[in-house]
């Protein structure tokens, strides 16, 4: 399914959820209307967006936190699946965007693509309460609301098409974005 269309489904349903984007999702998400509870993790440490999301979810247990992560990033920190479950967090949804390539470096295949990795199976084995996978946009649109309401922690794999042109820029200085984001969370 097209990446932007897949993200737009989440955008329509996010309500007051905290949304953490990184890499490809951070490139596309700002195209939707900005929200004070968006945190674009740019610059990032590749592989660590789920852990930032976990920290946010633990710190803000009354809020739903949605963290996007690419499959190349997932492969860099597969242990994060175990860490999330071990923490006991319930209010976190991790959405893996799987396209089989490293877009940022020009589209080289990931080792996961070569190995035909089953990310959903990994999440089930790690103990995620709810695990779902979608490759068809119409099905994702039809079932997204119920999927996002399943018991947490949730892991959703969205199989998306590669975007050829990769240009990622941060939407403003990190220090300013952190101040605004914490203010939106009610943190001084």
């Amino acid at each position: 399914m097209p990446l932007v269309a897949a993200l737009e489904v989440v955008h329509r349903l996010r309500g007051e959820s905290v949304v953490l984007t990184t890499m490809g999702s951070a490139r596309e998400w700002p195209k939707f209307s900005p929200h004070p509870l968006d945190f674009h993790y740019i610059p990032s440490a590749m592989g660590h967006a789920p852990m930032v999301g976990l920290g946010l979810a633990l710190a803000q247990p009354k809020r739903h936190v949605i963290a996007f992560n690419g499959d190349g990033c997932m492969l860099m920190s597969l242990g994060c699946l175990v860490t999330i479950v071990a923490s006991g967090v319930k209010n976190l949804t991790l959405i893996g965007l799987e396209n089989g390539v490293y877009e940022v470096t020009g589209g080289q295949a990931t080792a996961g693509a070569a190995a035909k990795v089953d990310f959903a199976g990994m999440a089930r084995s790690a103990g995620f309460t709810s695990v779902t996978e979608f490759s068809d946009l119409a099905e994702w649109e039809a079932r997204a609301a119920e999927t996002l309401a399943l018991p947490g922690p949730r892991f959703i794999v969205l199989k998306v098409a590669r975007v050829a042109d990769y240009e990622l820029t941060a939407p403003g200085p990190m220090a300013e974005r952190i101040v605004k984001f914490r203010a939106a969370l009610g943190v001084s």
Partner: protein, 153 residues
């Protein structure tokens, strides 16, 4: 543990070594500190980042070998996001005379290279220095490391 609680720490994010490991029971029993276990040390810095962004006061607790593993996460959290994350780092090999353990030999040069302020705690009598250093770092909004001297670890 009393020192950690008195500092107002809300979450200890850790991957222990054999010297730090015995703190587990006290951490689990604490009513003010939540223990978060990680699979690799780099995760600890970014979980701490999320906790801090969300208004909590996390403390990273790892061994010096985990410091070496943490490079890219540490770079991002301390220098890109510029968050005042504090860590207790077990200093494997420090108390072993003439040790050729590379974990001992490389710890302080690497912290120096990163430009991270640090204090060495090599006896229980030094704990007030740890508390004082932590408070200074938090007040200044900068990261810091307390190296906890260990034997073989």
């Amino acid at each position: 543990m009393r020192t950690i609680e008195a500092l107002g720490v809300t979450h200890v994010v850790w991957l222990p070594d054999s010297a730090i490991g015995p703190w587990q029971q006290a951490l689990e029993a604490s009513t003010s500190v939540t223990l978060v276990r990680v699979c690799r040390e780099g995760e600890a810095w970014t979980i701490a980042a999320g906790l801090w962004l969300g208004g909590k006061r996390p403390l990273v607790v790892i061994q010096n070998t985990g410091l070496f593993e943490s490079g890219d996460a540490l770079r991002n959290v301390l220098f890109d996001l510029r968050l005042p994350i504090f860590a207790l780092i077990g200093y494997r090999g420090y108390l072993v005379p003439n040790s050729a353990d590379t974990a001992k030999l490389l710890t302080e040069p690497i912290l120096h290279a990163w430009g991270i302020e640090r204090v060495l705690i090599d006896s229980p009598e030094e704990l007030p220095r740890l508390a004082s250093f932590y408070r200074d770092c938090q007040a200044a909004g900068v990261p810091g490391v307390a190296l906890i001297a260990e034997g073989k670890g």
